[in-house]
């Protein structure tokens, strides 16, 4: 079964350029409902306040006032959000980072710089074939 491309995807990054790049790549993959947040706190607020549920979160790590890892932990601790698929996309590429993210419950991890094929394959690994 293919991924529902009408699902809401939340892109979280403090660099507007990176949000735009990920958004454009997601649109190329066929996703049409894409939201943006500029840090973890902004993302958490949007996830809690928006009427619709996000089917996927793609988040940077290094942001203020709430990092991607903190956001992930908050999401996993929230009964209403805990099942949300979460992909970390970051320049933090040390082993301890990946382990920390895994322990916090990340579904996949992309290291920047990345390419469109990597983004697609990681989304498919989490959600299933995009088609």
């Amino acid at each position: 079964m293919s991924v529902d491309k009408k699902m809401y995807v939340l892109v979280v990054d403090d660099f507007p350029t990176m949000r735009k790049i990920i958004r454009n790549l997601l649109e190329q993959l066929g996703f049409s409902n894409i939201g943006e947040a500029e840090n973890g706190a902004d993302a958490l607020r949007k996830m809690r306040d928006t009427a619709h549920k996000f089917g996927l979160v793609i988040s940077d790590w290094n942001m203020e006032p709430m990092t991607g890892l903190q956001l992930l932990k908050e999401v996993r601790a929230d009964n209403g959000l805990k099942a949300t698929p979460f992909i970390m996309i970051t320049a933090e590429n040390k082993t301890e980072n990946v382990i920390a993210a895994k322990e916090a419950g990340v579904n996949n991890y992309i290291v920047k710089p990345f390419n469109a094929a990597t983004l697609k394959s990681k989304i498919e690994a989490v959600l299933g074939p995009i088609g």
Partner: protein
């Protein structure tokens, strides 16, 4: 009289006066015993005190003030401007790539796919701005730390904050300052007006 030798608190140097006082106190204790060895030790301590005094004077006269007032701040601002400028340029590149992607919808399938593939490569390549931005931000943070340490050093050396070091370049050389910081310099329109174009 029993004078105690001052000890530096964590993260803070002794002042010049405190160092001198500490050595003088130490010497007064040793000099009460008049052996040849102790006289040598006292002389060594006097020499050491003189050298420390000279070092403090040299530091306070030259390096810290220049670093504090000029170079570090300039480097900090220049790097922040690099992040801003590359961000704006990258946004522009992505915006133009988006236009090409939309225009490609009117092309035959083979041509359309080729354009989309190229646009995708452009998006991927534009990710450099995020990476360079993060690296520069780290450097800016380091500079900030150095600036704070230098500030503390200046205060330790007497709290003097001399004015910025004068630019000693002359003639054409003095005109070479690189791009202006945002808000400084004048616009193309202002240049045209100035030149009467």
């Amino acid at each position: 009289m029993n004078q105690s030798v001052p000890k530096p608190t964590e993260g803070k140097l002794l002042t010049r006066e405190q160092v001198t006082s500490a050595i003088t106190t130490l010497m007064s204790k040793i000099s009460t015993q008049s052996t040849t060895v102790h006289e040598k030790v006292v002389q060594e301590l006097f020499d050491l005190a003189a050298q420390i005094d000279a070092l403090y004077a040299e530091l306070s006269n030259i390096q810290p003030s220049n670093l504090k007032n000029g170079e570090i701040k300039t480097a900090h601002d220049e790097l922040s401007a690099v992040v801003q400028a590359t961000s704006e340029a990258t946004f522009l590149i992505i915006g133009e790539a988006e236009k090409l992607e939309k225009l490609s919808k009117d092309l035959p399938e083979a041509g359309r796919q080729a354009v989309v593939d190229s646009v995708t490569r452009i998006y991927e390549a534009c990710g450099f701005q995020d990476i360079t931005g993060q690296r520069i931000t780290k450097v800016v943070r380091t500079l900030k730390t150095i600036e704070e340490r230098v500030d503390a050093l200046i205060q330790t050396l007497g709290g003097q904050r001399p004015s910025a070091a004068a630019d000693e370049r002359q003639g054409d050389e003095a005109l070479l300052n690189g791009p202006s910081m945002p808000g400084q310099g004048i616009s193309q329109d202002e240049i045209d007006k100035l030149l009467g174009f």
